[in-house]
């Protein structure tokens, strides 16, 4: 018989290329992984044989990920750029996947039609769309596609024992492993073992003519007969898996993944975290959920029995943390390392042949006749329309998911950033991006500059990163305490990492940057704010690297592409014959094992209907729950909750709708009142928790206390609000709270201030900055410095003054020593200092010694967010001496001091007061630095307090705080001996600039307190301006 071209396959390929080929341009750049692959590809394009990459994580090796896809993109990029390479490889993946599904289906069903249907369905299957267009997991797709291509060859080798099949199988497995290492390993368990089982079963069937007659004994006999082939195949594939990516295995052994696992949505309880349920369960399964009974029925047929077991396992493992079973099966470690979504992916891909078979039977086979016979042709058409509609709906929904729920920040034009980095030697320092999402990988691919961050978390090396579940510093706010904690360490001690520039795309981090001593440099054309830190040394010319033997580099560079070439040559012949029909190829052995599609099982028909009804019932119930959740004004508690929820999401119109409609606060008025409040709480906070307590209730009135907890970049804020509630026509409302009606005295006023400008370089040159353009470092003087112990941790406190005639940016670093002059720890001043000082301005400071948090992986990591969390450093001895190094650099920004302390009242430890802003800038976050003094007016402690609301121009803002008790405070050492300013001894420089200092000034105006274990305190004000103009 002459072989005919399979129309369905051709149609599937055309459809696939057109559909994915056109959508891929709009989706893949927004996926989680694609840009990371691009970054790796850029690496190979420029350094094919050099595995060390300096750009991320202070250097890492690309031997941590199989290279094939990256190298392929890198090769194509030489033709038409990196993105061309990405799209080309994406299209190759589409073709490989569709043909792979076809071959796998043909092997399973032995029906060209069913396989054709499967190929068609594969094009639009939601699991494939999700993996390609949402996750961008190209290596994974190429891996699984090649695995499917290898399955018929493996089967034929086991079944026939012909060596050509073995060679083809091994060559395909080799390519698979160079593309994705996990696929062949798990594929061995979940795809190849069942396949071998099926081959043995078929062999046994051959003996007894009918699969039903196969008994255990016959099966075992066949098993022993084929045992040698299985062993040969198993051994060879193991060798190829180990050999082809040997450098990877060596690297894994050398740098074992000791990091704290990063939480992944696929381990969530899908019923609790519905978004994870959607992405990791509903979408991959898609319409297959309705067909589960049929799929399982078919897979538990005797021939497919092993596939049945495999798919059961995959299905269960894919449910993540919904049931405890996956955790029990995998054990804690594996459960926390593996991302479980891949099990669902494989289960749904494994189902595709059966899905194809179902489609075939439904469209033109026995199922169609059965339905038409039983319920008539109309029902068949309606049902068909429903299924096809649902299927396509699912596909469209999946591919547009990232449009409706963007998973990445808006696309950022990288050109202004790369230009900035190339300018003025800015790439001599490391940079950091904030709020870029995965686009940071694309930026890294575009520039030669190095970053401390990175986007391939298995390669993280710094303990500040590996000990926490922080994927990237970049998105640290989403990782709560650990994220911000890691970020703070990088921001406080940037010298350690030569980190000088930060590109911020998220204003959430602004206060954190400011209070850590960073300053805004400029806003780029693409809206990205560049922050800069002064006094950071540039990178050294030679950076450390971990070298590997040359043969590993050669293996890594040569083998993957070589394997592709070999596989291509070996398989080309087959593809040639199959597509061009130049020669009649002998029918593969598996085509003999056809299924009978004449009588659809009636029980399964009924069960499927029932199952579909159950699923529909679940869906309806879910929709109902969703609806009920929205009854916001049913109780007083609900309305307060909803009100804060609306405020949290800045949905002011919704918030306004909860206010008493009779209170005549119009939406316009409400918006005005809201818009004028600025500050850390209204501009930088995210609500973490709310507890509503109804304290007094009457029939139509109630009083509620809302205890709220807010997360801000600086600290966790707890704030209690009291609301009066009113019930009108069965609905509860909130009485609007009164707002501050204060009227500023002047409508228009003028204000003179001194402003500074620093040219940087006056000459346009690529050389080092000219000598005469280098400004003198402003001279500072340390007025006092003390090493104190408060409870169980040590701090250095003190006061310093800018005694120069120009404004100074202050960096202060303290080092602790023990009695034997051994260094114990060092750290920089973080929040407890005014980093920018005008001439002759003073500031108190406190330096805490922070350790790398949770270095000991056994300590439990708190689950809730606390940006203020502090990990005291573990010292190996008691510190008794210290060294203080301060450096001044000319500052020209953030010098706003026009906020006065307008009233003050102290009652026991309660301090109440008012700030008044008399200048022309709106202060977003005022910080109060509070210094404590003993009865001799000696400084004993420094603390700080961030105010929750900003101070607008010519307005008052009240504050209150509690003074600290200071019960366990000990002075260890008070000395100015080892204090240095700009590298010179403090005393010499002070004597020279101010020989006749009036020492009493600092002690003259301290606020006295009574009945506390200190005698005086002082308040200083540090102003953060969010939007300077």
């Amino acid at each position: 018989m002459k072989e005919k071209t399979n129309k369905y396959l051709i149609a599937a390929l055309i459809l696939g290329l057109v559909f994915h080929g056109s959508t891929i341009f709009f989706t893949i750049e927004n996926t989680y992984d694609a840009l990371i692959h691009l970054f790796f590809a850029e690496h190979y394009a420029n350094n094919w044989f050099e595995p060390w990459n300096y750009k991320w994580y202070t250097g890492f090796t690309v031997m941590g990920y199989p290279p094939l896809v990256h190298q392929a993109i890198g090769l194509f990029s030489l033709l038409g750029g990196l993105k061309f390479g990405l799209f080309t490889v994406g299209l190759i993946a589409v073709v490989l996947f569709i043909t792979g599904v076809y071959r796998f289906s043909l092997l399973m069903t032995a029906s060209k039609k069913a396989a054709g249907y499967a190929a068609l369905l594969a094009v639009f299957s939601s699991t494939f769309i999700e993996t390609l267009h949402i996750f961008g997991q190209l290596p994974s797709i190429i891996g699984i596609s090649l695995l499917m291509h290898s399955l018929p060859e493996i089967y034929l080798w086991i079944k026939t024992g012909k060596y050509k099949y073995l060679i083809r199988a091994i060559s395909l497995i080799s390519v698979t492993v160079t593309s994705h290492h996990v696929t062949p390993i798990f594929g061995m368990v979940f795809f190849i073992f069942p396949l071998i089982g099926m081959a043995i079963m078929d062999d046994a069937t051959d003996k007894v003519q009918d699969v039903k007659k196969v008994k255990l004994k016959i099966f075992i006999a066949s098993f022993f007969k084929l045992f040698k082939r299985i062993i040969v195949f198993g051994g060879l594939s193991l060798v190829s898996i180990v050999f082809c990516i040997l450098p990877y295995w060596i690297n894994t052994k050398k740098n074992p993944i000791t990091q704290v696992p990063i939480p992944h949505g696929s381990r969530d309880n899908f019923l609790e975290v519905t978004s994870s349920g959607l992405v990791f369960f509903l979408i991959p399964w898609g319409i297959l959920l309705f067909l589960l009974p049929y799929i399982f029925y078919r897979f538990y047929a005797k021939r497919y029995l092993f596939f049945g077991l495999s798919i059961t396992l995959l299905t269960i493992l894919g449910t993540g943390g919904t049931t405890p079973i996956p955790k029990l099966m995998l054990g804690d470690t594996a459960f926390n390392i593996l991302t479980l979504d891949r099990f669902t992916l494989w289960a749904s891909i494994m189902s595709l042949p059966i899905f194809g078979e179902f489609a075939y039977r439904f469209a033109e086979g026995d199922l169609r006749s059965l339905i038409q016979l039983k319920y008539g042709a109309i029902y068949h058409r309606v049902l068909g329309g429903f299924l096809v509609g649902l299927f396509l709906l699912m596909s469209v929904f999946t591919i547009t998911l990232s449009y409706f729920r963007p998973m990445q920040p808006q696309k950022i034009a990288t050109l202004p950033i790369t230009n900035f980095l190339n300018q003025d030697q800015h790439d001599h320092w490391r940079f950091l991006t904030l709020g870029f999402g995965d686009q940071m990988a694309w930026l890294s691919a575009q520039t030669n500059a190095l970053t401390v961050d990175g986007n391939y978390h298995s390669a993280r090396r710094l303990p500040e990163l590996t000990t926490r579940a922080v994927e990237r510093l970049e998105n640290s706010k989403f990782r709560g305490i650990e994220g911000i904690g890691s970020l703070q360490q990088f921001l406080s001690v940037p010298e350690k990492y030569n980190l000088k520039y930060i590109f911020s795309n998220d204003k959430f981090y602004d206060p954190l940057l400011y209070f850590c001593g960073w300053q805004r440099l400029q806003q780029l054309e693409n809206g990205i704010m560049v922050w800069e830190k002064l006094n950071v040394p540039p990178l050294s010319k030679i950076l450390p690297k971990e070298d590997v033997p040359t043969f590993l580099k050669l293996m890594w560079g040569i083998i993957p592409m070589l394997m592709v070439v070999i596989a291509f040559i070996i398989n080309l012949q087959v593809i040639w014959y199959q597509t061009l029909k130049t020669k009649v190829v002998s029918k593969p052995a598996f085509l003999k094992f056809t299924n009978s599609y004449h009588k659809f099982n009636k029980n399964i028909f009924r069960i499927s209907h029932l199952w579909a009804l159950i699923i529909l019932g679940f869906m309806a119930y879910g929709a109902y729950l969703f609806y009920v959740k929205n009854t916001t004004q049913l109780t007083g508690e609900n309305v307060v909750r909803s009100y804060y929820d609306a405020l949290d999401f800045k949905e002011f119109e919704r918030a306004h709708s909860y206010l008493n409609p009779k209170s005549d606060v119009s939406i316009a008025q409400y918006m005005l009142e809201v818009s004028v409040t600025d500050g850390i709480l209204s501009s930088y906070a995210k609500m973490d928790e709310i507890k509503v307590e109804i304290i007094t209730t009457a029939k139509h009135h109630a009083k509620a206390i809302a205890k709220t907890k807010w997360i801000t970049p600086l600290e966790k804020i707890e704030k209690t609000f009291t609301h009066e509630l009113i019930k009108i026509r069965g609905k509860w409302y909130i009485e609007p709270s009164s707002y501050d009606r204060d009227i500023p005295p002047d409508q228009l006023f003028s204000n003179n201030s001194t402003q500074f400008y620093n040219h940087g370089r006056r000459r346009i040159t690529t050389q080092e900055t000219y000598h005469e353009d280098v400004l003198k470092q402003p001279v500072l003087e340390i007025l006092s410095a003390k090493l104190v112990q408060n409870e169980d941790h040590y701090s250095i406190i003190g006061e310093l003054q800018n005694i120069d005639n120009v404004p100074a940016d202050v960096v202060i670093k303290a080092t602790l020593y023990n009695d034997n002059n051994e260094e114990l720890a060092n750290y920089n001043a973080k929040y407890m200092i005014k980093h920018k000082l005008l001439p002759k301005e003073t500031t108190s400071f406190r330096i805490d010694f922070e350790g790398v948090a949770w270095l000991d992986t056994n300590t439990s990591i708190p689950e809730t967010f606390n940006p203020d969390e502090f990990t005291p450093i573990e010292l190996k001895d008691i510190p008794t001496q210290f060294n203080l190094q301060t450096a001044g650099n000319v500052a020209t920004t953030d010098l706003y001091k026009q906020v006065s302390l307008a009233s003050l009242k102290v009652e026991k430890e309660n301090v109440e007061g008012t700030l008044f802003n008399y200048g022309i800038q709106e202060v977003t976050i005022p910080q109060l630095l509070i210094s404590y003094y003993d009865e001799n007016k000696e400084l004993i402690w420094v603390d700080s307090q961030f105010m929750q609301e900003g101070v607008r121009v010519q307005r008052k803002q009240d504050f209150n705080f509690k003074l600290k008790r200071l019960n366990c405070l000990y002075l260890i050492n008070s000395s100015l001996e080892n204090t240095f300013v700009n590298g010179l001894p403090n005393k010499d420089i002070a004597d020279k600039v101010i020989p006749n200092r009036i020492e009493t000034h600092q002690r003259e105006n301290l606020q006295q307190v009574e009945r506390l274990n200190f005698s005086f305190f002082k308040i200083e004000i540090n102003n953060y301006i969010g939007n300077p103009h």
Partner: protein, 406 residues
Amino acid sequence: MNRKFIYILIVGLAIGFSSFSNFYIEELPEAKLLEKKTEYEAGSIVLKFKASALENPQLFLHYSYGSTLIKAERLNNNDIKFTIPENISTKTGQVDWKLITTKKTILKGTFKITPKNTAYPYLESYFGPTSIQAGDRDYSMLVVVPTDHYDNPLPDNTPIHIKKQFLQSISEREVFTENLMGWKNIYTEKKAGLMAVMSTCFKSSSKELVSQIFPSTATDFTINFNRNHAYADGNQLTEFVTSEIKDEFDNTIADGTTVEFVIKDQNNYYLKTAAATINGVAKAKMLHPDHPETWKVKAYIIGMAESDVITVNYQSILADFELKFIENKEILKVGLLKSYMGQVIPDGARVNLSIYHEGNYIESKKSTSNHGEVIFNLPSNFYPEKEYLLEVSTLGLTKSIEIKKQ
């Protein structure tokens, strides 16, 4: 002695002699340096030798940056010539040379390279720090390094003329280079301003280099205040102004110097405001208190200078205010609050309400005035008792009223 040993001895001696035969003393071929100079100026240097019989002559050079071997060029008259490579011949210092053939050193010698004589040396000059303090303690240092065209420093004792300009005066002096450079500490002046220096060496001049002389530390000063009126309305601003602050040499202190104004109120609380100076004057503002008050104000430039103490009085704007209940004693109205001329007080005056029941404090409420009035809601649902004492305080006055419900 056995025979074996003798054999070994004979063979050993034979080998020994045969190798000795290679070390016969050879007669060295003759060679002579044609121009015996021990000093060359930096530039191109050529050594010529008369050495016709030499086979494959080479010159081994040892100099401060390393050693090298150069090949000879044969001249027509069979003399040989070595051109010293530029990287050696343009650097000052000592060069040792050895003329060698394949087998042996023939001649050796040494010469010195001196800087190239020039009337137009290059001048590398540095002046820093670029800002210093007025007075007599501080200075900037001028460092001049005159070099020849090959970047070799000129010899010691090369004269350098230094000129300094400050305000109207230009002064001159001469220094001599020592250890490759000439330098001079240029002391500061008592006046603040820009000091410019330049240097010349032979016929070359350097560029202009400047150092900013900033004023010295401030001296004591006086303060004053401006305000629209003397009423404690909690709304207007009082401006505190310093006199023009000067340093000990009568320079106006640097712009941007922080002056801190500390206010001590009647209750001994310290309030604060601060400002940076412009032309020596700092102007800081403060909100009027909202109650009668006497402030004692003193300003500081911390550690350096202070002002006198001034007293500022604020008068009460309000003699009395009204309290009344409306709507069945569920709403308390405070006001009308009137200001010093009898006008309605500007919005935002603060009013505190404290609620007591049978002498026990229950709670307090705060509000701000709107059109001179403040309204407190006291719904009987929340205040179920029959009697309450309400204490209202605003603008320094306190009044009480009782609720008595039937």
